[in-house]
Symmetry: C2
Subunit: 598 residues, 2 copies
């Protein structure tokens, strides 16, 4: 697979980058890039998460940042390989303050995509491998405290007599992953969570829920799942894992703690974070505040006339108790995405009469095809065997610029349409409204753009296709009656239970309630790329809005996403926080404008 190395590349190094950047020679540096080029930087060059999408943008970024970053020591990490005319090279590099890792793709000797990521701050390396602590301090020492005593002391004082530097609101996978990273960096951090135990946010979901992403994609930082972990983890098992993880990682975690109010104290340069813990009010005073409540916000429950007079049980999918409470009843589920399908299937499995009301088209991605066609190359047993563990996969994944990502996905879904033609045909025959995203780019782009609009099919689509789950599509509920609902096409469906599988609102409402509407607006919309597709208005942003990077509200950060994102991007958020807390200069390049308030 190896051809003659391109000019930017030589055995052992990247002389082009070393020389051009070492000499601060902008012309030479820009000349390393092709006319269509993307440089995605995760914190190393820009103290931001951003992508330069043209030679001119690369030049502008270097003009602003090169002298300060002072990159050096570009070394190949393994051998470069060439496939179909594209040469791929892993490398390491250094900046003035950090060590980094990157991935370069060259076409005809010119950089097409360049990924640069920060791995560690010099002088603040994690204490791993040869740097690990002794545990038993050899030698003797008067009045030393044991590990258990020190842990107990930390638990007793942090948040009371000792203030954390960082408070993370939300103790799901996002808060926990970040908590683990910050712990390793020695940043005093408190994670607060309204549920009692870590993992409860999974445990409390509907009974049949399993992760829709496979195990290779779901590892948390530092402690991979054992090799017999199920491909799709049942919700309670992942809940128990999160709970064990918090203990093992020594994360300071307050369960049963509700964040009530956050206010920036300009004079003290600290937040006042008022929380209620087991009924008592505590004010925390961190320097940095991270919101990890999930990138969605409050549950969406549409206002439908007559709802207040309904005699049965009505609830949002997030509060759905599972099928046992529905036996012998007639259930109507409003919505047709993941939760709606999972809930309908579990009801059918328990002999409950269930009707799905589909308001608009939905993308159906059969799990097996999705695994094989979309994820398998990076996150699968085969990938691991071929040397792509999740660390490597995360970087390959991160190296694909958002701007052109859809072009890689469209062929995947073309193939999926062919492979699953039978299922898709029968779904349409049953009246189900299908789509594959605005440009046919399918599931993952929908996830990035709007975070909704799909079902990863693990079996329910067959039940919809064969009529086991009854379907009313292209309609909405117009009116709720005491024992039925009337649809917009005039149909009346008897209903003892009404489930609103209608998704979630914007995170900004949480921010408005927690801090203030002004701050929520100043921060602006969270998530989405500005793709100008449904629910993701333009202009183009190039990166997910406000995620894991500096926001327009100083000292306020957003952490979250699926398990993969929580794992990978917590690395970069933790390094940004650590740098600020250690007083390193962190000039942010290319900070995004706020175009939308929610």
């Amino acid at each position: 697979m190896n051809e003659t190395p391109p000019s930017a590349l030589a055995p052992g190094g990247l002389p082009g980058f070393e020389l051009a950047l070492g000499r601060r020679d902008l012309d030479a540096a820009v000349a390393l890039f092709g006319p269509e080029c993307y440089w995605r930087d995760l914190v190393a060059f820009t103290w931001n998460i951003c992508t330069q999408e043209s030679p001119a943008a690369v030049r502008a970024m270097l003009e602003a940042r090169l002298a300060d970053v002072a990159p050096s020591n570009w070394r190949l990490d393994g051998e470069a390989s060439t496939t179909d005319g594209v040469t791929e090279a892993w490398f390491t590099f250094e900046t003035r303050v950090a060590r980094g890792k990157g991935l370069l793709r060259l076409k005809e000797g010119k950089a097409g995509t360049l990924l640069t990521t920060m791995v560690e701050l010099k002088g603040f390396e994690e204490k791993t491998g040869e740097r690990r602590i002794a545990g038993a301090e050899h030698g003797v020492q008067k009045h030393r405290k044991s590990w258990a005593e020190l842990r107990a002391q930390e638990r007793a004082t942090l948040g009371h007599t000792v203030q954390p530097d960082v408070v993370v609101i939300g103790g799901g996978q996002g808060g926990i992953a970040l908590g683990a990273r910050l712990r390793r960096l020695g940043v005093p951090t408190l994670v607060v969570e309204k549920n009692a135990r870590p993992g409860d946010s999974w445990r409390k979901r509907y009974k049949s829920l399993c992760l829709h992403d496979p195990v290779w994609y779901d590892h948390l930082p530092y402690l991979p799942f054992p090799d017999d972990w199920p491909v799709f983890s049942p919700k309670d098992k992942i809940g128990d894992w999160l709970e064990a993880y918090v203990e093992i990682m020594e994360i300071n975690y307050w369960g049963s703690t509700l964040a009530k109010n956050c206010r920036w104290d300009e004079a003290a340069q600290r937040w006042d974070v008022t929380v209620e813990r087991d009924g008592k009010t505590v004010v925390l005073r961190p320097k940095e505040l991270v919101i990890a409540l999930g990138v969605s916000g409050y549950a969406n429950v549409p206002k439908i006339p007559g709802a207040e007079a309904f005699l049965g049980d009505q609830h949002h999918s997030s509060r759905h108790p599972g099928p046992d409470a529905c036996k012998g009843k007639k259930v109507v589920v409003l919505g047709s995405n993941n939760s709606a399908h999972d809930i309908c299937a579990a009801l059918w499995e328990n002999d409950v009469d269930v009707t799905m009301v589909q308001r608009s088209s939905t993308h159906i991605a059969p799990s097996k095809a999705l695994m094989e066609l979309a994820l398998g190359g990076l996150y699968s047993e085969q990938a691991v065997k071929s040397g792509i563990d999740h660390h490597k996969a995360d970087l390959i994944f991160a190296s694909v610029p958002y701007k052109i990502m859809h072009t890689f996905h469209i062929p995947v879904y073309e193939e999926m349409k062919r492979r699953e033609a039978d299922l898709y045909g029968r779904l349409e025959g049953a009246g189900f409204l299908l789509d594959f995203g605005a440009d046919g780019s399918g599931l993952f782009m929908k996830y990035l753009r709007r975070g909704s609009g799909y079902y990863i099919d693990v079996g329910a689509s067959e039940l919809v296709a064969n009529g086991s789950i009854k379907l009313k599509s292209g309609v909405n509920i117009e009116r709720i009656n005491p024992r039925s609902v009337t649809l917009t096409d005039g149909t009346e469906l008897p209903a003892d239970v009404l489930v609103y599988a209608t998704g979630y609102g914007s995170m900004n409402r949480w921010l408005a309630d927690l801090i203030s509407p002004e701050v929520a607006d100043r921060l602006g919309k969270v998530w989405g790329l500005g793709s100008d597709t449904p629910k993701d208005p333009g202009p183009w942003e190039g990166e997910l809005r406000n995620m894991w990077k500096p926001t327009r509200v100083p000292h306020l950060w957003v952490q979250g996403g699926n398990l993969h994102q929580s794992r990978h991007y917590s690395q970069f958020l933790s390094l940004q926080l650590k740098a600020r807390l250690e007083g390193l200069p962190t000039p942010v390049y290319g900070q995004a404008e706020v175009h939308h308030t929610a």
Copy 2:
């Protein structure tokens, strides 16, 4: 490092073994071995753990076992390497019922040491990697139960309406490691432990205790410690890890459960194991019973005249509360091994007046030197970097025959004597009685032979040498007075607290109490090699007595040892149990005679 491959070896395979054993040609097979040779087998050939120590012994074993084992498919695993005239080759092989892995060392083309180990039983492979379960069963299924429901059901029924196949008495590291292995093999198992929580047997030890073995040596099966784990884990941290591990591995574990009585029911071919759980009596009916109570037995407390009239506090080291309870008091510690040193050092650190009474000579191995000279090649960050992870290290370690193991250790301790000459000289100057084992082979041989007689120095020896810990050596306590002890040399030491760091008795007394004195005698002495050195009487056994292998009491097994042994040998014990429970023939070759009853 590669020279011409020896005749038994060729690129890709071991044609000598393949041919000779394939043709059942004993002469050709024995001719592959040199005149001094050792074949250590872990279950694969012998359904036993045993070492053949001569060509004649190899022949006898093959005569008895070859037709049944039907070994085949000997393949090199990686390339063979030659250093100092010894060629080392990793290989895999199959038997009629299992797959195995081995390590061969050749000298002048002849096998000097051969290790064969069973890895998995055909048809009963662990569900890992590509075999892992889906978790979310795709498709739909009427009335399916969730993972949480199935776990709850298992917890509610196992030991009550559903009987476990295996009961493990003792839920320390040994019982837990075996529980994890059996869980993966699908063997219904219950681990019972008198303490409330997994890890309590560590938590309840003296406050300053940290593991004396380093992290690379201490991993449990399947879930290695994270890479920031301390080199020497503090006792409470390892306790918490064990507790999390039990949850993660889904081990059925009954805490607060005291085993009262075990009786083999010949008619039913099951044990009656009577336990008291939270005050209620439960009778368990397993087919196989494993004792994992620690290879030592009850605490040894010598009977010393006057003890009953002592006005202070006296306790065995296993009940020592740590220094806080001793402040302002005069403490006498009887004993000079690990616990005695750790306890004395922690007392000194807390300004307690403490005297160690050394009855006989002790081996002192400074931890740093021990790590570098003895363990570092196999269990260290450097070993991991050079490709020797703990899986590989365990097999290399296991490949050294016990018969000649001391010859590898003697030079290590010769070097330690040179390197630590200053410390040893000052210890002797302070009156401390030193030894290096009967033949100068040091710590690990003492551990294998007698399980006692040493201190891994993490700092206390300096305190002994400089007099901070007061020392009386070559004496015993002759008489205990109300507020002092009188030593055999006539000295009277004032004492408010008396700690018996006097070790543990034989496990057989536990067996005698749990089952019967007759069964304890039939099983015979546990641990030790028959080296004819102090506390390890001959004749030579070749393997640790009764550990992890069939005993003379059918359906009764002993599991235990340090974390390394609990990890590695649980593999072989679990496979032996699984084979029996699946009804595979398991003819045991070379079962040891019982030479000593305790």
